[in-house]
């Protein structure tokens, strides 16, 4: 009996650790459901071009081909991290990428692209973030695939990693191309 009392603390700690272990399980609430937009027409895009003298950015001008839309901002560190991979998308898969500078000052966006390279075929500025809201982004960066009919085929939320590019985006591109 007396010994049992001294076992009590370790038992309580063991239970707590077990609870935390279950709580940490990354699968706990990751019943990931595809974005509501997938399979539906992409929201309208009509944004001022980022670069001097560039025309307004619209989706219509890309009708008939598969494009990737990438939301980014100069103040976003994960965007910086995924940036080198964006070039790879267009080079490896032949998919042009449209950039949308989200809630970012145009000067800063331009400096960002000048510094890291510009992987985009066209870039629009979404200074008030309205287009981002239309696309339902929850943060940046996010990347969408829109097919030739203007239908959203895939959404990648968060920074692309080599792994994510190979295992998630690449199959999605292959699927959308079919």
């Amino acid at each position: 009996m007396r010994r049992l009392v001294f076992l009590l603390p370790i038992l309580i700690v063991a239970i707590l650790v077990a609870v935390f272990w279950i709580g940490l399980d990354p699968k706990r609430d990751k019943s990931v459901l595809p974005s509501a937009l997938v399979g539906k027409p992409a929201p309208m895009i009509d944004l001022p071009g980022l670069h001097e003298g560039a025309p307004r950015l619209t989706l219509e001008s890309f009708q008939g081909q598969l494009v990737a839309i990438n939301f980014f901002a100069s103040w976003c560190l994960p965007c910086r991290a995924e940036h080198p991979l964006l070039k790879q998308i267009s080079a490896e898969f032949g998919v042009p990428i449209i950039g949308i500078a989200w809630k970012d000052k145009p000067d800063d966006s331009r400096a960002f692209l000048a510094e890291l390279g510009d992987p985009y075929v066209a870039t629009g500025t979404d200074e008030n973030g309205r287009t981002g809201i239309d696309f339902g982004i929850t943060g940046i960066p996010e990347t969408f695939l829109v097919d030739g009919n203007g239908i959203v085929r895939y959404r990648f939320a968060g920074p692309l990693s080599p792994d994510g590019l190979r295992n998630q985006l690449a199959p999605a591109i292959a699927e959308a191309k079919r």
């Binding site: 001294f6 370790i10 940490l24 990354p26 103040w75």
Partner: protein
Amino acid sequence: MIPELGHYALVLALVMALAQATLPMVGAARGVRPWMQLARPAARAQFGFVAFAFLALMYSFAISDFSVAIVTQHSHSEQPLIYKLSGTWGNHEGSLLLWVLILTVFGALVASFGDNLPPRLKARTLSIQAMISVGFLLFMLLTSNPFARLDPAPFQGEELNPLLQDPGLAMHPPMLYLGYVGFSIVFSFAVAALIDGKVDAAWARWVRPWCLLSWTSLTGGIVLGSWWAYNELGWGGWWFWDPVENASFMPWLIGTALLHTALVVEKRDALKSWTILLSILTFGFSLLGTFLVRSGIITSVHAFADDPTRGVFILALLAIAIGAPLSLYAMRAPTLRGGGLFAPLSREGALVMNNLLLATMTATVLLGTLYPLLLELTTGKTISVGGPFYMATFGVLALPLLILMAIGPFLGWKRGDVKGALQRLIAAGICALGAAIIAIWIKADGPILAPLGLFVGVWLLVGTLIEFMERIRLFDGKPGRVWTRIRHTPRATYGMTLAHLGLAIAVIGMTGAGAWKSEEIRLLHPGQSLTLQGYDFKLESVEGVRGENYLADQAHFIVSRDGRFVADLYPERRQYMVQPMPTTEAAIRSGPLADLYAVIGEPDGKGGWLVRVYHEPLVTWIWFGALVMVAGGLTSLSDRRYRVGAPVRAGAAQAVRA
């Protein structure tokens, strides 16, 4: 180059810690002196390496070396220097390095000043301390390298979160960690004593200064955090029962219990196994706090970025660091024979009640913090547990504790005269009753806790003063005699009196601020005014101002009462230039009876501004009370008999009743 050296120093520190964790422990078991003595240089070297790494990181922040990832994420070249430096610990990786730094500081201190410790106990204590270091150094090197580089390095950083750009918060983590981590050495002492199989009065005396130092720092750290929230968040509140706050509050509660029970071990050789348990648990709660804050397992407004791998690592660390000692405890504690017997109504009895109540209060905070997680795991429902829950549990349990606090010091060891104590406290009871009646008179329909809180606060305040006056027999004998008694009262006793007084003052403050706070929200055009608690707040103007790294709308309020000028208030709404993030800068005029607190919100676009003003009674008392508590801790710490490294003197010092 410097960051690589810092990284390298961490690896060397890990090697040092590994040596310090193993050799002295084996040496102590086999009686090999040189191995045991290795702990001392190893602890110092380990401290040296970690300190170098910390300075290297600080240097990277100071010169804005944006090739270091966390500098980019948490600093900016235009940021004021103090916030560049405090940015060192304003992030997960850097604060972890600070954690380890303090861990090794304590190790090095014990190594250097613990000459009077029995060599075996010292070797084992330092070895245990090094084991904790190994765990955290591994954690840092494997999952959270503070020196990770960015390639290519950006030209500019992202700035420290504007909310963290506040002098109070710059100092808050170091203070808090000093307390948090300081309890690690008490933990190491306890585990070493378990291995030794010997806990006695001498052990309690060795542990005491470390315990006091940690407790004092933790008190200061918690209050700084609270003060920051009051000043910076613009909600007019000072405590939110947020999981992160609770994470620092739980070690404080258990640490307070430990501080008191160690006294019983020291004076009466009783309650040994309980004291050992508390020593382990106090540091256990520090680790739990670290886990809760850094794993993202619990929703909080101010958690670090969540990363499951980090969470798993800390959980494993927690399981080993607490599980192993508690298993040892389950085996060894039953063999620790208690010493002195005592009557239930005695100093010991009062301290047992103190411990029982503090432990139960800690349990309610723990339950409140974890209940949302438990419910989510079992039923999938999401809930939040807020202030009302804690008031109905923690708050109610605090009342008997505070009542007892005034009586305890009157009771003698072994057998106390409760009746005599209560007779001497009659004056305190009358004052307390008067305060409660005044509380009801001020606001009859206020919460019931207001008169109760004021009652116990005043009871404790007056009771503690009476106890002190009796101790020095203020009205007995010539003034010269009284002066002699004042001088001969040990510092530790002054420490207790101050700490208890401080808590009493803080309790009165919390009660007043909690029960009688009032506020008013209004859309004002410049020139208009609003009235709150008899104060007229006139919005004089709103102007754009420019700070070092922000732009702000600054309002000017003129506060007056019955036509007489009281104060100018300048609340701001800041927009930091780098992070697209507005912050609110409250303007506060502190006073002994109440604070006036003004915040400015958004313009309505038609010349009007949304403003919110608060009348916060007695808030200053909370900060002042906490300051007195810290002063009490420091006074007690300065007691020569307990000074770190003081030779063990049993007889003479104990003759003076403490």
